[in-house]
């Protein structure tokens, strides 16, 4: 019988089993089979979860619309990430190969748990688990740079998560009953209305700062930028999309819980400030960055800034925030897969050593340009719609100062990203790359074109079921 409880138990048992097996066996074909099987299990699990929409499993998990939407994004990107991972690690020693896949399965399972968790403590536990899993993946190359990035990631995330935990403890203080801390989100929402606003403000600030390590938002954004530089490209795609979505979800859950209280204005102002500073820092570093992956990492910071501004503005901005987070996931994942391929073809991530990509690998260069078009929200990118809605919300709120400042910074970022991309694609390299150049099959870019196609399709038409789901997610937020 496929009850909600059974599918949760089945999924986590399957995750544990495949993860352990992938970590223990040393046969590459067997590990590949196990990981591919796990991607299929995850897809089946997501479909089953949709069939139980609105239900709660074991008291600790819930199949609510936001969790299900982000879970679906994860399911799709898990397939493409596993595929590109197979290509990336194919020549690695068996031990490294198995650690990579075991950690990847652990990461997917942890993110799934975080999306479906039905309480802040459960979200926190799964977020902590994602840190451990992703640390093993960032350290994949075993270089001094990888060690430094892993150290920084684990350290800053741990500090951030400890701060988020203080925020969660404050939820207990607001309710005057620690036992309520393990209650579902809906139960806490009712109690939050009666709570001391100062406690709610403190809880929100700690949670925002803490989970900004995962969302890649100011003030804890540096950690993800460094992680992107050294992580394998398929993992960068995950850190920049589905893992950032975990941070967004944790912040959104608290925002939703407190939105019916008197601290709504405070939360909005905090989000607007954090979002604006994210845009400012992204614009400041975008031209300075000479590493192609760091450039994309700053682009993620920019996009999370847009999401924070949209959420903090309210009204149609809520819709824009959800739409943007979904579309950014597809566009950015495709771009990271592509930048991984460009490394193979050009033999470098250094901007000055990159160039002439269109002649060397036309299929990849076209995908790179298409991805840049999507991520910079140039029509026909669907992200144009979400950014337009964000600006519409700012106009509706009469926040013209932020509108002008954000638009100026976005233009600057657009200039920085496009000049760099056009240099990689059409110009000659300024200096010679020392790395080994490898031929890449054009067929390996198919997954990227499919992801970009989804982003572009949304510009012309948003499926009715998608609109309904987003509206259901934001229905409890104040209009």
């Amino acid at each position: 019988m496929l009850t909600a409880n059974n599918i949760i138990i089945g999924f986590f048992s399957a995750s544990l089993l495949t993860g352990l097996l992938a970590g223990l066996v040393r046969s590459k074909p067997l590990i590949r089979t196990l990981t591919a099987l796990y991607a299929a299990i995850h897809l089946a699990f997501t479909l089953s979860a949709w069939m139980h929409k609105g239900e709660t499993a074991l008291g600790y998990f819930t199949f609510d619309p936001l969790g299900l939407l982000l879970l679906s994004v994860l399911s799709i990107l898990a397939v493409t990430t596993i595929y590109h991972g197979f290509i990336y690690v194919k020549d690695d020693p068996p031990r490294v190969y198995s650690i990579y896949h075991a950690a990847l399965i652990a990461l997917i399972a942890s993110m799934t748990g975080a999306y479906l968790a039905n309480g802040m403590t459960m979200v926190w536990i799964f977020v902590e688990a994602t840190t451990l899993a992703v640390a093993a993946l960032i350290y994949h190359d075993r270089s001094a740079m990888a060690l430094e990035a892993t150290w920084k990631y684990v350290f800053v995330c741990s500090v951030g998560i400890a701060l988020a935990y203080i925020g969660i403890l404050f939820l207990g203080f607001t309710t005057r009953d620690a036992r309520l801390l393990h209650l579902s989100f809906s139960s806490v929402a009712g109690i939050a209305k009666l709570a001391n606003p100062l406690y709610l403000k403190i809880a929100f600030v700690f949670v925002l700062v803490g989970y900004s390590t995962k969302m890649g938002l100011f003030p804890m954004h540096t950690v993800t930028v460094d992680a992107h530089t050294v992580a394998p490209p398929p993992i960068s795609a995950f850190i920049s999309t589905t893992l950032m979505n975990v941070g967004f979800l944790a912040i959104f859950r608290i925002y939703e819980l407190f939105s019916a209280t008197s601290v709504l204005t405070f939360m909005n102002h905090t989000l607007l400030l954090s979002g604006f500073l994210s845009l400012l820092i992204s614009a400041g570093y975008m031209l300075k960055a000479k590493h192609n992956k760091r450039m994309l990492a700053y682009s993620s910071l920019e996009n999370m800034g847009i999401v924070a501004i949209a959420l903090g503005t309210g009204g149609i901005g809520y819709y824009a925030a959800i739409l943007h987070i979904v579309l950014h996931s597809f566009a950015k994942a495709g771009l990271f897969y592509q930048i991984g391929q460009s490394y193979k073809v050009l033999g470098t991530y250094n901007l000055d050593e990159s160039g002439n990509y269109m002649n060397l690998f036309p299929s990849g260069a076209t995908a790179l340009l298409l991805g840049l078009l999507c991520i910079t929200a140039i029509p026909p990118s669907g992200m144009f719609i979400s950014e337009l809605l964000m600006f519409k919300a700012l106009v509706a709120e009469g926040n013209f100062v932020l509108l002008i400042l954000s638009a100026t910074l976005l233009c600057y970022i657009l200039y920085a990203l496009l000049t760099r991309a056009l240099h990689i694609v059409f110009s000659q390299p300024r200096s010679r790359a020392a790395g080994v150049k490898v031929t890449v099959s054009p067929w390996q870019t198919v997954s990227q074109y499919l992801l970009f196609a989804m982003v572009i399709l949304v510009c012309f038409s948003q499926p009715v079921f998608f609109r309904d789901i987003v509206n259901e997610i934001i229905k409890n937020l104040p209009r």
Binding site: G119, T121, M122, W124, I125, E128, A129, T131, L132, A144, M145, L147, E148, A149, T150, W151, K152, V154, F155, S158, V159, I161, A162, L163, Y165, I166, L169, G172, F173, R176, A178, R179, L181, H182, N196, L198, Y199, I202, D226, T229, V230, Y285, K288, A289, K290, H291, R294
Partner: protein, 205 residues
């Protein structure tokens, strides 16, 4: 008695912020573990075997034995015994930490903490401040690590304030937190021993 232990904990934080020898850092982290054991033991409403084992595990075993042992191991392996480079001299550190203590007192008093003990809030906020201060004002990884451990202690102190009927999920969370700190110490610091001066490979230029 509980208040007394919390005050001693606050004094240890002030000492941590001005000291320069790593052995004293490690010793103070262990000492704070003993204090946390005493505070959590005194806060227990019902003393059962399970609660005593749990409290002893997360404080005495991890915070008093395992963490200081690993810290001393790091000192032995790296051979680095004192802070050579701080962003601030000790006098200014003391000044900043005193301001932090005053801020913690002001913030805690401005909150209506009833029915919880106000002292927990003051010292927890102060511990978070001191931990972040240690991370920001020092260049060496070891000092950053001690800053992180101090923040972890602040979390534990605040969770003790909630009461002894703390849900199992929170306990799992705290244990997971301790596990992560041990993992950071055990694996990364040992591997990073050649790079204890600073970590500057990753930058934009």
């Amino acid at each position: 008695m509980t208040n007394m232990l919390i005050i001693v904990f606050a004094v240890s934080l002030i000492y941590l912020s001005v000291t320069e020898r790593f052995r004293i850092y490690a010793g103070l982290v262990g000492f704070q573990g003993v204090l946390l054991f005493g505070i959590s033991f005194l806060q227990l409403d019902r003393i059962t075997l399970a609660t005593v084992i749990f409290v002893a595990t997360e404080t005495l075993i991890f915070k008093v034995v395992v963490v200081p042992y690993l810290l001393f191991a790091v000192i032995r392996r790296t051979g680095v015994v004192r802070v050579h480079e701080k962003a601030l001299p000790s006098f200014y550190s003391l000044l900043f930490v005193t301001v932090g203590l005053l801020l913690s007192i002001v913030v805690s008093f401005s909150m209506n903490t009833t029915p919880y003990n106000l002292m927990f809030f003051i010292v927890s906020f102060f511990a978070v401040y001191t931990g972040l201060f240690l991370i920001i004002s020092h260049r060496k990884i070891f000092s950053h690590l001690v800053g992180f451990l101090v923040i972890e202690n602040a979390v534990l102190l605040l969770s003790i304030a909630i009461g002894s009927d703390i849900p199992m999920l929170l306990n799992i969370g705290i244990l997971l937190d301790i596990f992560v700190s041990v993992l950071i110490l055990g694996i990364f610091v040992m591997r990073l021993r050649q790079h204890t001066e600073d970590l500057t490979i990753l930058k934009d230029d």
